[in-house]
Symmetry: C2
Subunit: 349 residues, 2 copies
DNA sequence: ATGAAAGCGCTAACAA
DNA sequence: TTGTTAGCGCTTTCAT
């Protein structure tokens, strides 16, 4: 021991953020060596290491990643672009992404588009201007400009949730078209024939649209068409499910099945039917989509299809995190298989 | 017109991100002027403006905010630190923040802590290292190191959701202690006397804890204590609400009220009671907390208290966005008033 | 094991 | 209205 290092705090008045230089001066070690210590890089003697660490901690130094990123040309950020946070589905995807990124040193940064292509373009532009390590974004439909930006960015891009279409780079998701078709087939197999559809009025929710198209294809294959359909926008999904189910049953009383575009309105419909004493699934069958946890607490399990949200997030993050190691050129397409859950609201043959 | 500007695309091979210099060369204008055009700053003649814009667009130039931020010492990012995204409450706060920040040029960046103080500290450190314009974070309880970092950062800090305690800088929220007390008073006023409590087992959810404490204070003021209480962790809140309500009623059959720590488990309890044909609110009263939209779709409106989530987000963002203009030194404390909603599950005198 | 020099891509400040 | 000169705070590279 040759005397403990002397570290004196600067006057509390100096509101200027601390720099490496401050730590350097306080510890009597060159900026370069301080930098090395703080990043655990290269060989540094244990003695200097401790001196530096002490000084940094005492001063309350927080590195400036902006300068670091500019110098190193590396940014440990992953941009995540999603349409909404209130949809419940997206926070779950995010949670999968966070979990996978946990120990990679990468940090997700979220941007929300409200299902607007122009907003998506703006968010993307903003994100790319921070030169992130990769971008994960929902859907395959984007403005031409957005697509061009992504291609030109030179970073890995993963489009998630949907595989029905062409991606810019990598793609991880399910086929909503197929999901719709499969549900139609299951419903028909169970003997239902007069089928209604209830969904959200969102022309820009391409996945919901594809599901409906697939559903109609499935019905068509059996010579059927949708007997009644309706769309809502805004408000509590649960409440809307109730109200619209009531309205639809009043309008088309001989309906024997209702397919909902998501579990929330489906749950609303289910609650309504149970209250009315309607025989579910005997007289009327019901099904939703997503496989949300909420359904577990309902009096009866609504038929649904798991949309593999967490898994999609995980895989997407894995691609971004793994790309550098594996030296991949990109262009992977991963299609997950949603599992149909008949629950208690589709009768079994 | 002296001939349209000639802009030639670089060979598609150059995967190097474009710089201001590239735009400068392509347009025959100095980097500085290009910079001015791209930021709409200073006086630039319409002719050069167009030349530059064309070149930038043709090349597909995306500015490098890292360099820009380093040079200008300004970062248009606001760090938002929250415990969870699956709690539904936090996405709503976020949505308030986003809405308020919409036209300010500021961008929220989200970090999630999973209710862990050490994780919060780490997230905060990471965020501060990007030198954001401000930080919004949930709660008043932080590690000493976290508090120190925030104080030293020199940027506006807004702690949200809770006002029961001392903040580092500004604070926007409600008093959960008071909310608990008010609910106790309302319940007692309605004539209930044998009261149970059902909540989440989260020692680090300080707001839920304070609510319970306030609730117990309220009961104590009337000479009452909680007759039965239980806590859960994990799983579907709706389902847990069902199961735990059943268990509690079996254990303490003469209970005449159950107070739930959130609306989701409350909704589960309500659904259970209705199924069992229990007279709500006659024989048993129920209340939750948060005022979530979901409740609108339930067969009966659960009593609750609105926790002003969006408003909290808005106000917090307003403080961050407004600070520079108004030259405030900070330290504002804004306490919002949650409104009690008796719904259909507390009997009226 | 440590240090010195150069420069990442942009913008503030000043000059013309 | 436009251009020039210095950095911003860090890391890379090379020297010692």
């Amino acid at each position: 021991m040759r005397g403990s290092p002397t570290v004196s705090l600067p006057p509390k008045e100096s509101r200027r953020p601390l720099t490496l230089r401050d730590v350097s001066e306080a510890s009597g070690v060159s900026e370069m060596t301080v930098s090395r210590v703080l990043r655990n890089r290269g060989d540094v003697s244990e003695a200097t290491r401790e001196k530096v660490l002490l000084a940094a901690k005492t001063l309350g130094y927080v590195p400036n990643k902006i300068a670091g990123a500019l110098a190193s040309q590396r940014v440990n950020l992953v941009g995540v672009v999603i349409p909404s946070l209130s949809n419940l589905v997206f926070p779950e995807v995010l949670s999968g992404i966070s979990a996978e990124l946990e120990d990679t040193g990468l940090q997700p940064v979220v941007g929300v588009t409200n299902y607007l292509p122009e907003k998506e373009e703006a968010v993307l532009y903003e994100m790319l201007s921070w030169r992130p390590s990769g971008i994960i974004l929902a859907g395959l439909e984007h403005t031409e400009a957005a697509r061009a930006m992504m291609v030109n960015s030179g970073i890995p891009i993963v489009e998630i949730m949907d595989v029905d279409g062409a991606g810019v780079d990598s793609v991880v998701g399910i086929s909503h078209r197929r999901a719709g078709r499969q549900m139609a087939e299951a419903i028909i197999a169970a003997g239902y024939r007069k089928i209604g559809f209830l969904g959200t009025k969102m022309p820009l929710d391409h996945r919901a649209r594809k599901r409906l198209e697939g559903f109609e294809e499935g019905l068509a294959a059996a010579g059927l068409t949708i007997a009644d359909k309706d769309f809502y926008s805004g408000g509590s999904a649960l409440k809307k499910g109730r109200e619209m189910t009531e309205a639809m049953l009043a309008r088309t009383p001989d309906l024997d099945f209702i397919y909902y575009s998501n579990d929330m309105i489906g749950a609303g419909g289910l609650l309504y039917c149970l209250e009315q004493g309607i025989d579910v699934p005997g007289r009327l069958g019901l099904a939703g989509f997503n496989g949300v946890e909420l359904l577990q607490g309902l009096p009866r399990r609504l038929a649904t299809m798991d949309s593999c949200r967490r898994e999609i997030g995980r895989k997407a993050a894995e691609i971004i995190a793994g790309r550098p190691h594996q030296g991949l050129i990109g262009g992977e397409v991963i299609e997950l298989e949603p599992i149909i859950e008949l629950g208690d609201t589709i009768r079994t043959a």
